[in-house]
Symmetry: C2
Amino acid sequence: MNRPDRLIAEVGTAELMGQIGRAAREAARKIALVAPEQKNEALLAAARAIRNSSPAILAANAKDVEAARARGTTNAFIDRLTLNESRVAAIARSLEEIAGLNDPVGSVIARWQRPNGLIIERVRVPLGVIGIIYESRPNVTADAGALCLKSGNAAILRGGSESQHSSHAIHACLVEGLKEAGLPEAAIQLVPTTDREAVGQMLKGLDGAIDVIVPRGGKSLVARVQEEARVPVFAHLEGICHTYVDKDADLDMARQIVLNAKLRRTGICGATETLLVDRGAPAHYLSVLVKALLDGGCAVRGDEATQQVDPRVTPATEEDWATEYLDAIISVKLVDGVNEAIEHIARYGSQHTDAIVTNSTETAEEFLRRVDSAIVLHNASTQFADGGEFGFGAEIGIATGKMHARGPVGVEQLTSFKYVVRGTGQVRPA
Amino acid sequence: MNRPDRLIAEVGTAELMGQIGRAAREAARKIALVAPEQKNEALLAAARAIRNSSPAILAANAKDVEAARARGTTNAFIDRLTLNESRVAAIARSLEEIAGLNDPVGSVIARWQRPNGLIIERVRVPLGVIGIIYESRPNVTADAGALCLKSGNAAILRGGSESQHSSHAIHACLVEGLKEAGLPEAAIQLVPTTDREAVGQMLKGLDGAIDVIVPRGGKSLVARVQEEARVPVFAHLEGICHTYVDKDADLDMARQIVLNAKLRRTGICGATETLLVDRGAPAHYLSVLVKALLDGGCAVRGDEATQQVDPRVTPATEEDWATEYLDAIISVKLVDGVNEAIEHIARYGSQHTDAIVTNSTETAEEFLRRVDSAIVLHNASTQFADGGEFGFGAEIGIATGKMHARGPVGVEQLTSFKYVVRGTGQVRPA
């Protein structure tokens, strides 16, 4: 038995996880206060370690891939899991990019003076300990660990059993970086067991040791986390994103945006799943858009009107409006203007990302104001729903909740704040 | 039986609370989008109704006070419960002040342009539905309801059975204001039953209808809410606040700050409970501060050194360092400089509010940076821990958690945000 397995056999998963939680809390207290340079040193050293360990990481990854093949998993799954030289280099580069971001900790968000002379500042501080529960993508180990460190938080990473060898090899490089920079190794811990009980323990918060959980993976993982977690969760269950083409849209712009929003990548959460077209638009709008999608290799499931424009369109059922395809499939519906579009999105959407295409500023503003989603766009593709595209440098995930974090969650949203008040002897009047 | 009691008898508390939740969610959708003027109209009309209904409110309050007296509750409790002409006028004035605050909804927190021309705005939006669970203070009905409305949120108020008549009379005025302004009455609902089961239902979130819970009351209420709630909670369990007097403090300033921090009002959460004095300070510092407290009518429980300076000092036990007295009692300890002060606060504090008195900028900055509390002050009284004193106009409570809200929770922190992205046809490159 290896060390963690021996520990589990001796003391059980609960004790192992408790130790991890306490170590993380202790590490969090330390890294909350270290200088930006020291954290960056750790990230850059980790990037070097990743590059130097590329053969070892690829060998570990080969084991995971082999096991996955033996289990007969899907090609999409194998693709997410597989690393190669260039993917390993991208992981190292990503660590360097995170090192290059502005350090959020200690930055002054707001500053004002009171009539009594007190100067009040709102200053960013780390959240504490962040638990990340993820599935097959090995790069999450590096990205999530690095984003937590950059924002002064300790990370407890729990990767999927499918990617365990890859994750351990990458995690070893992160630990090397922490050691080189003189930071506590427990700042980024990888749960050393694939026992599912460990996830349950994390969702309960490890006796107050975990401040927030970020799940990264498919809908069933996120659903379990949202259902069972007794600590805050930054997540989106799904991205049922809409693009609404208004009667005042430029047809050519609409066509380009719709094709990009649906087909640039079909497997990301910001991909459009439903196209809504204004009944008041010129008749050929619907047909041009639908044919462009069909010709682009997209299956179209439409309402009555949409079925009329092309024989390749199949009927949409009630279920289609509530489905995140994550595939080259789109549902299409004719609606009575921006109001019905907004109502449709309120009913079937997932408060993730929704877009309007129109040249009417008035209609656009109505849509932007009333659609209750994390991201609303005017004349742009829903595929911009991404921390990198927002300029955050990197994201740990996208959240659709309204508590604390919303939309792409970058290093700033992995922080809290405190009030720093500077006086000259002020006392509060009776 | 009155209407709610009949409803409970017929369908049970769960169904009643479910109806309240659904009505709140529906109202929240509407008031999230109304203009600031309409919300202010409702608040001003409610203030007028409070003034006009003063006799009815006082009569209702008299019933509550009488019942409390009959139960033999403490004088402090009776004082918190009792209204008079001037307290009713203060409630009305408070509504007017909240109407006068800047409307947070729709305000642009940040705005930037991406190299591809996209303009991204971070815009405040309401959180949704806020549940407030409170005890004896009848004014919470008006303040909490008004702060929720101002920030575009629906409120579900659950007052204590002790103040039920007062709360109903005040709530009726709020509803009158909503009606006059043409806003949905369900925007501010008062749970019409004192069945404790209703609280349990609220803590479970009413099937997703409640977004956040704010408890207002004693430690046992807050502890129950924090323990049982399955939705986010904005709260502080207790305020074990510290004032640390450094060797480089001005003694006169320190004396004034310590007296104010402890004795201005002893029953508020920002009152100092422990005085820490630097062992390196001139010997008379400790004695001057302790005697000033004793002479000011404060009981002092001290460590060995503190017991030496005055016979009136009684010994502090380990429990004292972890006690929120909320009374004219203070614990006093000599510490080895700012480091031991910070360690003591980390061990015994409640991450609420802590202050340092020193003329050394370096020592002050060390304290402000390392003390992990919602509010840290330099050369000022801990009693400034208050939304009004921060310039927020009013607060719904003070939070010590790090998620979303922290410190005094005013209208801004009762909002979330969304990203509004304006483009000119941008699509995301492959």
